[in-house]
């Protein structure tokens, strides 16, 4: 077994690159393994993702491999799944045929790089929402793309509680909506400024919960920005750290919510395509009928959830934990989510009695 740190990766710290190389050489079937490149990818506040380029000689993995190493950022927020849990989720959904980067190896030994990490195959494409909603090259592909995203979501939702490899996920009980309301109230309690509009929306969400629906495996952050597209085709669904058991309408409402359309509010499915195409894909695979009123309810929940998260992000700036103009400006987006929620509640109240 030979090992080489590679010169391009040197700015990361030779020790880390060497440790990762040694770990990979141990888990791969190979005579020799070389790390050609390793660099930090942009955009992870809670996780760090490294693009990894390796060359393997001999064995069944012979050849070059483009990989991603995912680990906790140093300022870890303890509200989502651990990396080991996320790896287990990725394995389960990959085995279920959902389009995700193939999970390869998990390292829980803290002596390697100091934190748990896993390695997955790198998928090609673009995830940046602002680019995807504006790309004129995608015009003819949008409807089939959102239909495909509906199909993928239905495949994910076929995974039900009791799945043996996912026993670590907290049980959801019969009131997923109420669980969320209680959680967001706890989040608001931890913040300093009072939020009367969000409180009012949470009361409405408590009062108007939809009837008990099927509880399924939800991605819980299924939206434009969290999937990769290459030449009009879906190449991978990313960011599984919020996966949880919940009402299947929650993922549908989150995907379609106005706040995740990135300025293209006319395209109701994630700023990318029509709601009809997304629903068609979902219903075609699941055989279930989407309850349109339940989705509208979960879109109110989506606006409230994003509002609460935006407050938490602003708090990270305000508390001095992480000085950042981006986090500070996120705090000024909160009234958009509040107005989204208030207007949608008006619309729903005109249609169904509250």
């Amino acid at each position: 077994m030979g090992l080489n740190g590679g010169s391009q990766a040197s700015h990361l710290g030779k020790e880390m690159v060497y440790a990762v190389g040694e770990f990979l050489a141990g888990v791969c079937d190979c005579a020799r393994l070389e790390i050609l490149d390793m660099r930090l990818l942009k955009g992870g506040a809670v996780q760090e993702n490294y693009a990894l380029e390796i060359e393997i000689e001999g064995g069944s993995d012979h050849g070059r491999h483009a990989l991603v190493l995912r680990t906790d950022a140093t300022s870890r927020v303890q509200t989502s799944l651990s990396r080991s849990e996320e790896f287990a989720v990725l394995k389960a959904v990959h085995a279920a045929g959902i389009t995700v980067p193939e999970p390869l190896w998990l390292c829980e030994d803290p002596s390697v790089i100091g934190r748990t990490f896993f390695v997955m195959r790198r998928v090609p494409g673009v995830a940046a929402a602002h680019m995807l909603v504006r790309d004129p090259g995608l015009e003819t592909a949008r409807e089939s793309l959102v239909e495909r995203l509906g199909e993928e979501l239905a495949r994910l939702h076929a995974i039900r509680p009791g799945f043996p490899e996912l026993e670590f996920l907290p049980e959801c009980g019969y009131a997923p909506a109420l669980n969320r309301v209680n959680l967001y109230r706890r989040y608001l309690d931890a913040l300093s400024a009072p939020q009367p509009a969000l409180e009012w929306c949470l009361n409405w969400l408590e009062r108007c919960q939809p009837e008990a629906m099927d509880v399924v495996l939800c991605h819980s952050d299924y939206r434009t920005g969290n999937y990769m597209v290459e030449r009009g085709e879906l190449t991978g669904i990313l960011d599984w750290e919020f996966t949880a058991w919940s009402d299947f309408h929650e993922d549908i409402g989150w995907f379609c919510a106005r706040c995740w359309r990135f300025g293209r509010t006319d395209r109701e499915a994630g700023g990318m395509g029509s709601r009809e195409a997304f629903y068609r894909g979902y219903e075609g695979v699941s055989g279930a009928t989407i309850d349109r009123d339940a989705v509208a309810y979960w879109e109110v929940m989506a606006a409230v959830r994003w509002g609460v998260i935006a407050l938490q992000q602003a708090e990270r700036h305000l508390s001095g934990e992480q000085e950042s103009l981006e986090l500070a400006l996120t705090g000024r987006m909160v009234p958009e989510m509040e107005m989204d929620a208030l207007m949608l509640i008006d619309k729903i109240s005109g249609r169904v009695s509250p």
Binding site: P196, A197, E199, L325, P335, M339
Partner: protein, 132 residues
């Protein structure tokens, strides 16, 4: 004191410099940062221009709900009074004590508060949803 040009004017011309001259010469990643800086300056300029008028209007609406005595006891400065009464409002909404006769008034107050904040943070949003 006559300090001219005033803060609003300084922020306006600084933003113009950012958007019209600096934006085109920076890298793609810095473009996003320049736009964030310009946006922050625009929000600050609108706030400066509005002065205390929003706070006074907010206090007027809160006093309709809670009465003049509550306003008088809510603190010394305008800012403090609005903060105290908003804390009470948030608590009262969650506990449900405002659900009865004043529910409509509370709803109107909340919508007015959110609209006022949007006028400062993102007036384009209000136009896009047809409120203003």
């Amino acid at each position: 004191m006559n300090n001219t040009p005033d803060g609003v004017e300084l922020l306006r011309v600084a933003q113009k410099l950012l958007r019209e001259h600096l934006l085109s010469v920076v890298s793609k990643e810095q473009r996003y940062e320049v736009l964030m800086v310009a946006n922050a300056m625009a929000i600050a300029a609108r706030e400066l221009e509005a002065g205390e008028s929003d706070l006074r209007e907010e206090l007027r609406m809160l006093s309709e709900l809670y009465g003049d005595t509550a306003v008088a006891e809510a603190g010394n400065s305008l800012k403090e009074k609005v903060a105290t009464l908003n804390k009470r409002l948030a608590t009262d909404i969650r506990s449900g004590v405002l659900d009865g006769a004043c529910a409509q008034g509370v709803r109107a107050l909340l919508k007015a508060q959110v609209t006022a904040r949007l006028r400062l943070s993102n007036p384009k949003y209000l136009k896009a949803v047809g409120i203003e």
